[in-house]
Amino acid sequence: MLLEVLNSVFSFQILLFIVLGVFTGICIGALPGLTATMGVALVLPLTFGMEAIPGILLLIGVYVGAIYGGSISAILLRTPGTPAAAATVLDGFEFSKRGESGRALGISTVSSFIGGVVSVLALWLISPQLAKLALRFSAPEFFLLAVFGLSIIASISGNSLAKGVLCGALGITLSFIGIDSITGYPRFTFNNINLLSGMSFIPVMIGLFAMSQAFTTVEKIFTPDQVTQKISKVWPTRSDWKVILKHAPISGVIGTIIGIVPGAGAEIGAFVSYGQAKRMSKHPERFGTGIPEGIAAPEAGNNGVTGGALIPMLTMGVPGDAVAAILIGALTVQGLQPGPLLFTEHTTLVYSIFLGMFVANIAMLLLGLSSLKLFVKVLSVPKAILTPMIFVLCVVGSYAINTNFFDVGVMLFFGILGYFMQKADVSVSPAVLGLILGPMAESNFRRALLMSEGSYTIFIASPIAWVFLFLTLLTLLGPLVGDALKKKKSTM
């Protein structure tokens, strides 16, 4: 098995795809307005014709690269290239003001690498065990797992619980469209033949994440970006290394844990790591003035999320963040169903993903240290030309999956919807996660009742079920109890 994995990853073709993915990812991440999710959604159609391993590794390369690339514009332009780099702006731009942007980029590169490697190690160690545990799940446990995932998504992914639930439920409702998997009854198809097989998942994703983002860019299309400064001395100094080695591994672990939690992505990972580093520091007041800790922590934290997000995705089919949700789409296109069986039936694929992700992190480190000047040039690509090209990529990408123009219409519809949802401060990620977890919840709920002949006690029959029920209650009631306690304190 080991030989097979080594053979499959260390072939010229796969290494080329990984490096190409990371390179593209860094460029996409560096450009403000192009997010990691958008990048992965736009590259996804290119993998339809590929085999599973190179296709998935290309996408993972884009993911890893884009999360790191966001720091380049955060440091140089004071604009996070991706939401994941928002925390890096705080200290990163202070370096640039002092003319030390090279130093800041070096710290960011090395810290991202450490965070990424920590998360790949966690992925490697935790997922096989978790998959073994998940093998024991049957319908009731999978139903409760999906409910737990949905509750967590609703409660953390936006500013308002009500809006999170609305959006998640919208995603679930979309999943109802098409022939019911248990009874074969057509639901919400309105006699439209295109809807019989259900809402195509990938055009919805491209619309919500890429197209709507492109519309947002159009708003500011006539305001030019600032010019950048020269980069020198990227390799960190001895004192910077000390800081990096102290903070990056811890932040990597924090990022990984946050990545595992469904719905919490790289943005949250970066902010929590930043906060943790500040709390640990002997001089918290210096955060925000341009200190190396302020870059090392969030950058290791956001790349830590990359591996963590894949853990529940590969082992249980529950996406850890929006990118992991697209990767589920990518695997499904290849005829692979993420979940515990992936670990027993497609072992080579799973371990090739682990090893490939490790290689992607090395590629990121090498590209980051050697070619920063090139990536800085990417920042001057005018969005006035890039944005219309993204329109074309969205259209072609959603057409390519089924070669059906109906899907292009679906993509544009969700692009427009996503734009207005962003305006109303409704986060779109819960919809996509609902679209994946909805069918998982529904089919397993009904299958469980088929198993028990209609008795609802099957949902409390196993210890695993109790754990999920408890976690769900904790997620939903936790914030309410927390708020009540805060109120009590303030009135006392």
Binding site: Y185, V218, P382, K383, M389, V392, A424, E442, E453, S455
Partner: protein, 150 residues
Amino acid sequence: MKKANFIVSGVFAAFAIFIIAISMGYPPSNHGVPGPGMFPILIASLILISALVLAIQTLRMPKSKDTAIDLKSKNVLNVYITMAGLIVYIVLMPMIGFIVATSIMLVLYIKWFSKRPWWKCILISVVFTIAIFLLFGSVLNVPMRFGLLI
């Protein structure tokens, strides 16, 4: 934000009622196993409750937290025009053909957004369109030939 919240709440509530109305007509449960209508009704009820909660929260929101949402400024109007243009593009593309429709769409948007000279816009657009056509059509084997022209 208040107004937007009410719109969100109203639209979702109407959507939920629509879903419930349709699902009521689906076959009933069978020996305790829920039929195809049960989950949609459950989820739509959840939407209805959340929409109500959002409306109540918004009513109780202090005025200081009420931020205006930009839906009418010139920048946003540009977005609306862009959306309309793209709708025309995807309606016409299957009839005209990919290369011609896409090149024209790109030339117009790039000229509008970047104000570069026409010849540059045309060059960029045609080269990019042909590159995408070859990439998807020849390398990835997506059938890209349709419409009257190419």
